[in-house]
Subunit: 343 residues, 2 copies
DNA sequence: TTGTAGGCGTTATCAA
DNA sequence: TTGATAACGCCTACAA
């Protein structure tokens, strides 16, 4: 019952009195085969409900048509959107996407990389964890000649491609926007880790201050950890200062949200007294009664492009590794939390 | 340079002057092997940087240790959370998770199932698309003897396990809560598709009305399509009625949000004049200035349990298929959008 | 155009 | 306890 013995090319070859090789060739559109045979094989294969075994193919060819994606958490809006982009770009080419979570721990990252390599994936896409400091495990990937593409959170490793947004520019844009709303004492709630992205956002912030002749006030720059509570704390801390800020640029939307909650608790009017902007364009930012200004990182596009970088690489001769760095433009969405109607 | 010729058990066997079979046994903790050999092999394997080839193993054993998950869209908060649950439960057992998106189209669903089966995954987890009507493609999975577990959106197919929340109860709970807030004219914005989940939520709604002696008013039940616009439209339509509702139970959070936006545009006070509740506990619901009452479906737990159902099945003798139906309790989160302080 | 044979890396069976 | 061998399903030189 159920039966379902797997049909192989041998079964087809027996039925047709040809060799398995012929069947294989017919199935693979090999030109050296008569049209008649090809059609006959195709028809019979369909009748017998033949399914090619990708595993055997993979073992033979060394290519699995599986790619791995490593992200901190798969259910963060940003990451799942990138993955969606990767999946949609790669599926038409026959690839399957395997997902792994690092939980922001390097140790997991290392382990995931190892099991992915064992499994013979054709490429690894990853956003490094906050705790990742050195790139030894990354180098292992390269040694195996497995293509690797960083997205968003990258590391500087020679030979590795990456797709990111221009975080410097994004930081600059937000800050400039706040300045144009008339703000002059702009606080920056930065990321607490040493990820490049936070560094660049901060640098963009500094550059904007400088361009518009505003002083950099060290007390206005606070490390925050992407949580709501962290935004609340930061405001508490900032409002202990003599000269309070009149704007807050948070490097993450949850931090911005926390800041807004605390400001509101203190009956501070937004955006009249204080303008607030976040980062990432989390879905909730636009649904609030007071929608929050934020930077969109075009995650789905980012995934799409990362996939394209890989596909290009595959098209090349296997041995040549190309290193491509793509920097996408950020998009600023000005919303009520910082919109005083000025340009 | 790069070198990286793959190390196989043959390389180890040559170096050690033993057979490949011995190496294989040593590596697999086969009891019929001397401790000495085992250790020697282990040490040498490590030195030579040997990595077992999961592909070859898979071809031999018929088990890939890969499982497939099919969802409408991977970047919906609910689905990515379920996937997270599945991944975290299965990874310790050595499984990798392959993700597929149906984009709410049966045709894609069919295709994904086929490629997953070709790829020899060990199990398929899925939430059917809205357009899925019959279960022919599902039956194919069973014919291949591949375990299948539905989560959230299931179909009635004999032999298939499923993990869902009690949508009937959820619908009942929400409606009862609204009634206890003093509402007597409760509208229900249902799903537009014929998915079981919407049917049950609606039935729960009906049951609550009946229990509390409220009439079922057909005009108060409107099909809506999970979008914000749909909520706006529904309210527009409802407020054309002579007797307007004093509560709205939407079967989705986005619809609830749309309803709230429209009510606010009409200067209708929430929850004083109209109570509103949604469904799914999307992240944004709790972040709003007016947080939205909603039902939490415990997606991560749902994924975890779905994975457990599969693991149990694997533990059994392969040939026996068990059909397990798990129904999880929904959790009602009462928030300001419907909280009049009554119990 | 088609067939034969060997191999991708493992593991399981049967001998030794 | 260990070794030789076949097999998983497919592809591809090489021969015919």
């Amino acid at each position: 019952m159920s039966g379902k013995e797997k049909v192989t090319i041998y079964d087809i070859s027996k039925k047709l009195n040809v060799s398995a090789a012929t069947v294989s060739r017919a199935l693979n559109q090999n030109p050296k085969i008569s049209v008649k045979t090809r059609e006959l094989v195709a028809k019979t294969a369909a009748e017998m409900n033949y399914k090619q075994n990708r595993l055997a193919q993979a073992l033979k060819s060394g290519r699995t048509n599986n790619i791995g994606v490593i992200v901190p958490y798969i259910n963060r809006s940003f990451f799942s959107s990138v993955i969606r982009g990767i999946e949609e770009e790669l599926r038409p080419h026959g690839y399957h996407v395997i997902i792994c979570q690092s939980h922001e721990e390097v140790s997991n990252e290392v382990e995931q990389i190892n099991t992915l390599l064992n499994t013979q994936i054709d490429c690894i896409f990853m956003s490094v964890s906050k705790t990742t400091q050195n790139s030894d495990h990354i180098k292992k990937v390269l040694e195996e000649n497995t293509p690797l593409v960083f997205f968003d959170r990258k590391m500087e490793v020679p030979g590795v491609s990456s797709v990111v947004i221009d975080d410097f520019k994004a930081g600059f844009m937000v800050t400039e926007h706040l300045i144009k709303q008339g703000c002059t004492r702009i606080a920056h709630l930065s990321g607490e880790s040493n990820l490049e992205i936070y560094k660049y956002r901060h640098e963009g912030y500094c550059a904007a201050l400088e361009k518009y002749g505003l002083d950099y006030v060290p007390e206005y720059v606070i490390k925050a950890n992407s949580k709501i509570e962290s935004g609340i704390e930061a405001v508490t801390q900032l409002w202990d200062l003599e000269l309070k800020p009149d704007a807050i640029f948070a490097a993450g939307d949850y931090v911005a949200l926390g800041a807004i909650q605390e400001l509101r608790d203190r009956n501070i009017k937004i955006p009249e007294e204080v303008c607030v902007a976040g980062f990432s364009n989390e879905p909730f930012t636009k649904y609030m009664e007071l929608p929050i200004t934020s930077i969109d990182q075009t995650p789905q596009l980012m995934g799409k492009i990362a996939a394209q970088v890989f596909l290009e690489q595959v098209k090349q001769n296997q041995t040549i590794t190309i290193e491509k760095k793509v920097v996408l433009p950020p998009e600023l969405f000005v919303r009520d939390s910082s919109d005083r109607g000025l340009k």
